[in-house]
Amino acid sequence: MTRLARSPLWLVVGMVLVALILGYATLQTHFGDLAGHWWQAIVAPDESRIRQIVLHYTFAPRLIVALLSGAALALAGCLMQQVLRNPLASPATLGVTSGAQLALVIATLWAPGWMLAGREWIALTGGIAATLLVFALSWKRRLAPMVVVLSGMVVSLYVSAINSALLLFHQESLSGLFIWGSGSLAQDNWNDSRFLLLRLAIVMVLALALLRPLSLLDLEEEGAKSLGISLRKLRFAGLGLGIFMTACVVSAVGLIGFIGLAAPAIARLAGARTLGQRLGWSMMIGALLLTLTDLVVQQMTPLTASLLPTGAMTAALGAPLLLWLLPRLKLGGSRPTPSSGLTLPRRAEPRRRLWLLGAIAIVAVLLALGLGFAVDGRQAQLAWAGWHDLSLVIDWRLPRVGTAAAAGLMLAVAGTLLQRMTGNPMASPEVLGISAGVAIGVITLMLLPLGVAPLSSSVTGFCGAVVALLVLVICNRRSGFAPERLLLTGIAISSLLEALRAIVLASDDPRAEELLAWLSGSTYYASLASMAWVLAIAALLFVLVLPLQRWLTLLPLGAPTAKALGVDVDRSRLMLLGLVALLTVAATLVVGPLSFIGLLAPHMARLMGFHGARHQLIGAGLLGIIVMVAADWLGRNLFFPYQLPAGLVAALIGGLYFMWGLRRL
């Protein structure tokens, strides 16, 4: 009796019932005219009746594809979790789905012929590449669960930044890719169903063959080894199956978020124990989860003039789920090791280095102002601005350079504050999801009326930042702000933004382009006046932060020590968090949510030997200015007259740095 109560059976039965009701409702709303002929239409439609054909080729295969994709992703997630012994592993959190997607987008744009040869193989290549990257990043930490997932989600975000850059240049022709990229399950034949069924069956058979050895992984590693299993081959096979399954799903229906994470987690929480049970139940739960989401989406479709992508919907649901799961999971290997950054040798004269950095910053600003494309009739080439170009420089280059510099400064300072407060070398407003919070706030506002009103967007942006900070605190208080958990919370918030973005882009609304441009963080709209404001705000906040160096020196020593030395820990943390929120809002409104400057600058500053709080703040600020100004210049001139947003360029630079930093976390 008790065993029955602890099995997921009732959950599955309940989900089946809801699915049946929703399915009936969907049939009733979309195919009410065929009532009584539903089954016949599914099995053997009357070829002369279009309504039966539609039912036969859309509703029925869509249902099957939803069930199959959900089950396949759950299977993949289950395998990955078992092989990596990591309850947070899944196709989405390992970066497999986005890697596969990027490979398909690249193939579509530059080698459409390959798409005919076999989409799943292209997707597989991308998925494997992403996974290898994730492993390379987390190898040093012996694939510790949190580090693997963190790397995976960073790779996902990075890949989607590359995707954004591609999309900016193919706006009109890629609206179809938006739809596919956000996981639309719409079907028009049985090909996808057959495709998925065959591959799922093969993978299932192979997984069953591996079931016994794989379940021995539950034993400690030594135990499994003593039973004579080649662990390496086993892991390789299990993981390979998971990635292949994911690649098949991505190539058939696009990005479906988080089913692979959620289904095994729910199965486990509902009481599935052995690997066999977990596989079986999570496949059922995954199938039903995706189907339920899709049925709800289908119910909502007739109400709007835009498309609702199922995959992005599940991703939007998955992010809160991840946040909810995090405090509930016991994860091994997440003890922070002492950060290597703190053990670097102290440089004798940070002051001289600061002067040097300052000089470099000035040179960077001058270069960015002076060097640009000069128009000569119909031609344009890179040239130095002469004196007669003064108005061009002051009116059109200076605002962008100044704004980029201010944003870089603010993000760098915010990052330094966060890294010092949390004692976590990988913390930053972008990584902790505070920038994403700002962006979510602004999108919410933007979707209500037409266009962006600057004042109100800064207010909603601020609210978004505060909410993100609250979520961070609530989710991490119990774990004592363990570094990887904190980062993972932040990345989960960022992935919620990613899902929202996909939904907006797939809606096929012309405003989506504007949103894409803003989210990518362009300094395009900077004017002299707005630059003056941003610079003034940056300077003011910087001046406010500088005297706090005592707190910033003592807080990294830990709360008890800081308290003993006379710091009011709670009050100081609150004030610092408030400052971080203000800095992030001001910077994010200008350069978008994903620049990684807040991570990169403080980190680099420490590598350069700025250990004192004051020196690190100034050094990071200068570095932030240098990188952001350089990113802005590259964005303006790389594809002249077409322009890439500074935030996007900075993210492409900073993301690489972040991954490199992860390797040594």
């Binding site: 070829e47 279009i50 309504r51 054909i53 539609v54 080729y57 859309t58 579509t108 459409p112 900016l168 706006q171 009109e172 022709s173 609206s175 179809g176 890719l177 739809i179 639309s184 719409a186 079907q187 028009d188 034949n189 090909n191 109400l303 003039a305 835009s306 498309l307 640009g372 494309f373 128009v375 119909r378 344009a380 007669h388 170009d389 003064l390 108005s391 061009l392 002051i394 009116d395 059109w396 280059r397 037409l450 962006v452 809606s507 096929d508 609304d509 012309p510 382009e513 504007e514 441009a517 362009s522 395009y524 709209y525 004017s527 002299l528 303006r636 002249f640 007259p641 077409y642 322009q643």
Partner: protein, 305 residues
Amino acid sequence: MPRVRSSSPALVTRITLLLGVWLLLGSTNVPAASTPRIAAANWTVAETLVALGVTPYAVSDIPNYRKWVMEPPIPDETIDIGLRNQPNLELLAQDPPDLLLTSGLFSRDNRRLERMMPVRILDNFFSGQPFYPATLEMTREIGRMTGHQAQAEALIAQTEKVLDSAAKRLQGITEPVYVVQFSDAQHVRVFGKGNMVGTLFSRTALKNAWTGPLNAWGYAAISIERLAERPDARIIVIKPFPREVDSELADNRIWQHLPAVREGRVSQTDPIWPYGGLVSLQRLAKSMIEVIAHERAGVNSGADQ
């Protein structure tokens, strides 16, 4: 300059700007004063300018214009100023045109742009008027601005003639029409009231088969099975096909089974910019006449539902 809102940048910048302009004007030879040099960030305006015989100084995103708008072709002398929503400011500033025409959708901060040249938002959407009157007004306005009033009136008269002849040729057509553009093999934008397709429906006897909700640009993004909601409908596909859509349609069972497809009531037009101006409208009307009236006799006998 009564129409141009005066902005108030810092005095210093204004002086430097004037200085810069004076120096620039000193160095470049001023073109003939009769037609102003106009930059168009909006493809609809670019289309209209070229149609009136004005060679625009600059147009946004010309490669994509060639793919999506096609006609009339942008002259070779016209320079590219980058993305439509972000015309390259440094480029414009170095040799400012006499006027920048843009759309309300693409510009959210015109005061800055007005410091280098007069900027006007000229749009046939979001003007508070229905599409066709708004487009006529836009055309006349462009004519006034460029001193090509006669050509503008001629273009309008020509469009009226095309619409009248469309009304005549399409008389008595009973089957409704879906006008669509493909997003991917499963999704289309279906057009209705609020753009040039709506104008055609109101000016001719044609009936729109799509009666569902539409967005502000007068289309809805739907999956193609909904094109079966009116089995008797004819489908007109506006090209271009994105990516591989035309080859994927061969595998698309729904598409292949749509009554319109089975019974040969599907036709394709050349690429037409459905959010465009009078030239695009004429091209759309002519395509409609060509594809509907042309096959009409054959279809009327075969259609039964």
